[in-house]
């Protein structure tokens, strides 16, 4: 399981990467594997104010539709429009080209409420047993 050490993680399997005051949001490798083939993504409108823990996007896989929760509070500045034509980018590159949206994070202190890479690794290892 790939868990980059440069970012924060939520218990609902989103990641948050802070670049200056902007937070890039995506879903984890664990999440994309659990969801399997992602076939559609519904992203928030630019300018939307989202609160931490709020359902702000939807990912539809072959199996089902899943809510994506904002890992931090702030205004949506940009969404990954490449996902409209190619939602499978989330499966192939969840931490890179498969990013979902960028938010202007209001309070960087909110990251204390998120998981460290080490804690997230433990969380997913116990969820899968072998980590497979």
């Amino acid at each position: 399981m790939n868990i980059p050490t440069d970012r924060f993680y939520s218990q609902s399997h989103e990641w948050l990467l802070l670049v200056g005051g902007i937070g890039v949001v995506g879903v984890t490798d664990y999440a994309q594997r659990e969801l399997s083939d992602i076939v559609f993504v519904e992203l928030p409108a630019i300018g939307t104010h989202v609160r931490r823990g709020e359902a702000v996007a939807t990912i539809e896989s072959v199996k089902a539709a899943s809510d994506i929760y904002a890992p931090a509070t702030g205004e949506v500045r940009e969404v990954n429009t490449a996902l409209t034509q190619n939602p499978g980018l989330i499966n192939t590159d969840p931490y890179g080209q498969g990013w979902l949206f960028r938010i202007d994070v209001e309070d960087p202190g909110e990251t204390e409420r998120l998981e460290s890479p080490e804690a997230y690794a433990k969380l997913t290892a116990s969820a899968t047993g072998s980590g497979a």
Binding site: D37, E42, T58, V62, N91
Partner: protein
């Protein structure tokens, strides 16, 4: 793995999209052991089946199979099946997993006074489907004794490691290929041997999620979705299953003839979304303007056509190619166009 009708089923091995495309381009191997196998045997089996199925069984030669259905007295579809005449007085019926026991009981009741005996072999037999443009070449590597003229819907006896089994040139993917029905003791050995034989041809194991998308692209109906007791072959646009001219009467014949005179109210259609859209899932209403005019029976993303596709029943008056309908997901409307069926037709068959 997933659970269905008491079976543990392989849903996906790697990726549904990759598995679908490997069947379209090369080959895929499916475990279809959940399918039911009923053996009917007796001196009057042809006559009895002609009275029980809407198809012309008398015209089915030995060594051939035919798609057919079990209908109730109203013409409603209880199950769909493949009937193979494996010997002059012996038939193999391949039926759906969820309906196997009900089908076996239904036949046993109907055949109570017949000279035909029915045996449900489903627990003792396994099944594999080898599908794709490379499928027949791979099969021939394993079974070089297969006859040259192994035509579509033909079924032949084969043998592997001293045990006999059946191979039919059929499938449920819209590609060329074969289905194998065998004593369960052969299952693991045949699976491994086929994967080895097909390794250099691009054969890969495929799950039942891929099989569901493949059959949807090919507009092959699924029992419990497109087919149910509330629908007849007429709404399903499969009236070709019914032989109207054969002398034998069969369950639903009169009801179907009457419905045929009036014309069905609903019709099964295939559709594709015009732009990226969420999967149109079974049960979603289909709308013309603000009016509900139908319902999705199956839907999903087609990796072959790179679009959200589906099938569903709509008011017969609207069931023409080019009609635009919509479905709603989380408050947003998505537009679909009714398309000719099948949505995908293989060039390799």
């Amino acid at each position: 793995m997933g659970r269905f009708a008491g079976w543990a089923l392989p849903i996906v091995y790697t990726s549904v999209a990759d598995e679908v495309l490997s069947v379209r381009r090369k080959a895929g191997l499916f475990d279809i052991s959940h399918m039911g196998e009923l053996l009917l045997q007796g001196p009057d089996v042809q006559e009895r089946l002609d009275e029980l199925l809407p198809s012309n069984i008398a015209a089915l030669p030995t060594g051939r199979g035919q798609y057919s259905m079990l209908l109730n007295e109203c013409g409603g579809i209880m199950d769909d099946l493949f009937a193979y005449r494996i010997e002059p007085s012996r038939f193999l019926l391949v039926v759906n997993a969820a309906t196997t026991q009900a089908d076996a009981r239904w036949f046993a009741e109907k055949l109570a006074r017949a000279e035909t005996a029915i045996a449900d072999e489903s627990e003792r037999w396994g099944g594999l489907a080898l599908q794709g443009p490379e499928a027949r070449g791979i099969l021939r590597q394993l079974l070089p004794e297969l006859p040259e003229a192994f035509e579509r819907r033909a079924i032949v006896a084969a043998s592997w490691k001293g045990s006999g089994f059946w191979v039919a040139r059929t499938g449920y993917t819209g590609e060329d290929g074969a289905e194998l029905f065998f004593p369960v003791s052969l299952g693991v050995g045949l699976w491994d041997a086929l994967l080895r034989a097909g390794a250099s041809s691009g054969l890969r194991p495929c799950g039942l999620a891929a099989r569901d998308i493949l059959r949807l692209e090919a507009c092959l109906p699924l029992n419990g979705h497109e087919l149910s007791e509330e629908r007849t072959p007429l709404e399903a646009r499969m009236a070709w299953v019914v032989d109207w001219d054969k002398s034998a009467s069969f369950p639903g014949k009169e009801a179907l003839a009457e419905k045929r005179r009036r014309g069905p109210d609903l019709s099964l259609v295939a559709f594709a979304a015009e732009r990226p859209a969420p999967p149109p899932r079974a049960g979603y209403p289909l709308l013309a303007g603000e009016t509900v005019v139908g319902k999705v029976t199956s839907g999903g993303f087609s990796p072959t056509l790179e679009a959200a596709i589906g099938m569903g029943y709509v008011n017969a008056a609207l069931a023409t190619e080019g009609t635009r309908l919509t479905y709603r997901v989380r408050g947003t409307r998505y537009s679909v166009i009714l398309k000719p069926s099948p949505l995908y037709r293989s060039k390799n068959r």
